[in-house]
């Protein structure tokens, strides 16, 4: 996040927008106007001018405590947000009932265009749940007695979760023992989709429980869940699924070019490739004898270096289709190696249309379908090159 931490000393907030309350906390000391920050402020608030005092005041301990937002405050923010959403919909001439978050984002980007590079510093209007960190309500009643029976462990949500999980484990074992005693236990091992999902990472679990966890706690919890999984009981499935997150299958992300047909009825496929500053476009014909023409010149003459020709051959050789396709490419920019790399990528992408899904996945795992993001690193001031420093002289 681009927001720096709360500076020492007091801070005065000015809220500027649509008649929001102006609350000013004055402190002794020299006012030092800080930079205007665009923060992801509360609901409707967009701009926040931050003044920081000089070093002369004493450290304000109260301000260093994390800001606690009361439940009423959050509720009010949510109301304000909803009202503001309707106003915004009205302003944009859209229907307030069906105004989604994407519409809000687009409207704010239109009304407050920002040229800042840091995306998180731009004006934002989101639901208060996403802006204010989740905090816990007061855990004890008026008489001082805590509500939860595990309050004095310090990590009540975590331990209650462990308690629940272990209870389920015991139940599952008991059920299994009963089935085994009756002789009805069948060794059915349904392979769940273990690859398509992953366990929640520690940060996500912390977010879910609104509590800090240690690495050992997290490891213990995951071990318990895995033990639960091995028991294969249907009732606990959904409990375990709460702690699994699905992982994207990468190969599904690729767009496969449609096959086109030219005048003679020959099928071909076109696609583009890039490498450093070279751009290439390749047309791969379905039936051919393995000729490759680059910018109208035969590849043997265009690429005198063996390494470049090997790169051109790579996608075909990988799929065992060396002499079976004709290719025509145009390439511009870059040097000899980057032109070869660009053509390789273009050819691999074009070949995807003639090949099974499994082979597309193989090509992806062989690194043929990823665009190489490496570019020349710039030279920095105070250094001779990108990495090389000037000769160090002692005096």
């Amino acid at each position: 996040m681009a927001t720096p931490c709360v500076s020492c000393g007091a801070a005065a907030f000015y809220r500027l927008f649509l008649g929001g309350r102006v609350s000013l906390t004055r402190r002794q000391g020299v006012w030092k106007a800080g930079a205007v920050e665009l923060q992801t402020g509360t609901g409707f608030q967009i701009l926040r001018l931050r003044h920081t005092t000089g070093v002369t005041t004493k450290k304000n301990v109260a301000a260093l405590r994390r800001e606690t937002y009361t439940v009423d405050f959050i509720k009010k923010q949510i109301e304000e947000f909803n009202i503001g959403k309707r106003h915004l919909a009205n302003m944009m001439g859209e229907d307030p009932e069906t105004f989604t978050q994407e519409d809000i984002d687009r409207a704010i980007a239109y009304l407050f265009p920002s040229g800042l590079f840091e995306k998180q510093a731009r004006p934002v209007m989101k639901h208060p749940e996403q802006i204010f960190p989740k905090q816990r309500a007061i855990q004890w009643g008026e008489d001082g007695r805590p509500f939860h029976f595990l309050f004095y462990t310090g990590k009540q949500s975590y331990y209650s979760l462990m308690h629940e999980a272990y209870g389920k484990l015991l139940e599952a074992e008991k059920r299994q023992n009963q089935l085994q005693a009756k002789g009805l236990f069948s060794e059915k091992t349904e392979t769940k989709d273990l690859i398509g999902s992953r366990w929640l990472i520690k940060e996500e679990l912390e977010e879910m429980l609104v509590e800090k966890l240690s690495d050992q706690d997290y490891a213990q919890f995951i071990r318990l869940l895995e033990r639960l999984l091995t028991l294969h009981c249907g009732a606990e499935e959904e409990f375990v699924q709460r702690f699994r997150k699905s992982v994207t299958i990468q190969s599904k992300k690729h767009l496969i070019e449609p096959v086109q047909y030219d005048e003679q009825g020959m099928a071909f496929s076109t696609s583009e490739g890039k490498r450093k500053s070279a751009k290439a476009e390749a047309v791969v014909y379905e039936h051919g004898s393995g000729r490759i023409k680059v910018n109208g010149i035969d590849y043997l003459l265009y690429f005198p270096v063996t390494q470049d020709r090997e790169q051109l051959m790579f996608p075909f050789h990988f799929l065992d289709r060396l002499g079976k396709h004709d290719t025509t490419c145009t390439v511009s920019g870059g040097g000899r190696s980057s032109q070869a790399g660009a053509i390789r990528l273009a050819v691999a992408r074009a070949l995807c249309s003639f090949v099974t899904e499994e082979e597309v996945e193989w090509m992806r795992q062989a690194g043929l379908l990823t665009a190489d993001p490496r570019v020349r690193e710039r030279k920095k001031p105070g250094q001779e090159g990108a990495r090389r420093k000037f000769t160090w002289k002692k005096r």
Partner: protein, 242 residues
């Protein structure tokens, strides 16, 4: 957040575009030795046979690994790598080490000329030899190259360790990649420095490779010297803590 790869340094901050935007930016600290790829990208597997294996032959582990790879992001294959049967990772590494100033074309041509020279010399010997000896003469330049480098690898190395204000050369077992690197480095340095000005690199290198193949020559001597020094400093071995 997971620690970013490489050490951080204060000073100039690099605007990272593209795939690296997920890394946390601490004010005043920049990353040195970073990569344009995010840390979750895995190295590509270019071997054709790995993919052509039928499902029945795979072990459980391999099946798991294959399933896992489907969810991982893969880097682009580098420009020197292909699925060709003629490609050899050891030879590629050697070519890169021989390369000067980015002149891969020259380094590769020197390598091919070296292998050709090795083959020619071996064939001459073959044709000049009697029938029994012909069976023992190795003519494949690739096997000669691999065997020569393997013969040059030191088993144990010396590491300077600071104790009480002095650096002591402590004998230390070397990991495999360090051994391979040292063998190649010694070979290349030997051929560059200890040759007559007019002799060409392929000639010298082929000569050295053949000598190393027969466990003779200056590179093997250097390996033995390293072993002797390690043996001499045996008493300091307890300075090692890993």
């Amino acid at each position: 957040m997971a620690a970013p790869a490489g050490k951080v340094a204060r000073g100039w901050s690099v605007l990272a575009l593209g795939l690296r935007s997920a890394v946390p930016r601490l004010p005043g600290l920049t990353q040195v030795r970073w990569s344009r790829y995010s840390p979750e990208y895995r190295d590509p597997q270019t071997d054709k046979e790995y993919y052509r294996k039928p499902l029945a032959e795979l072990t459980e582990e391999e099946k798991c690994e294959q399933e896992l790879r489907k969810t991982q992001l893969i880097k682009a294959a580098p420009a020197a790598k292909t699925s060709s049967v003629f490609e050899d990772p050891v030879i590629s590494k050697f070519i890169n080490m021989m390369m000067k100033g980015g002149n891969k074309v020259l380094a590769r041509s020197l390598m091919t000329q070296t292998l050709e020279a090795v083959k020619r010399k071996q064939f001459e010997k073959y044709h000049a030899a009697s029938a029994e000896e012909q069976a023992t003469i190795e003519r494949n330049p690739y096997t000669i190259f691999h065997q020569a480098l393997k013969n040059c690898e030191p088993v144990i190395g010396l590491v300077p360790i600071l104790r009480g204000g002095h650096f002591y050369q402590v004998p230390v077992p070397l990991p495999a990649r360090r051994r391979r690197f040292l063998a190649m480095k010694w070979m290349i340095t030997e051929c560059r420095e200890k040759k007559h000005r007019r002799t060409l690199m392929p000639e010298k290198l082929s000569h050295e490779l053949l000598e190393a193949f027969h466990n003779q020559g200056p590179v093997i001597k250097k390996k033995h010297d390293m072993h002797k020094m390690a043996e001499a400093n045996r008493a300091l071995a307890h300075y090692r803590w890993w």
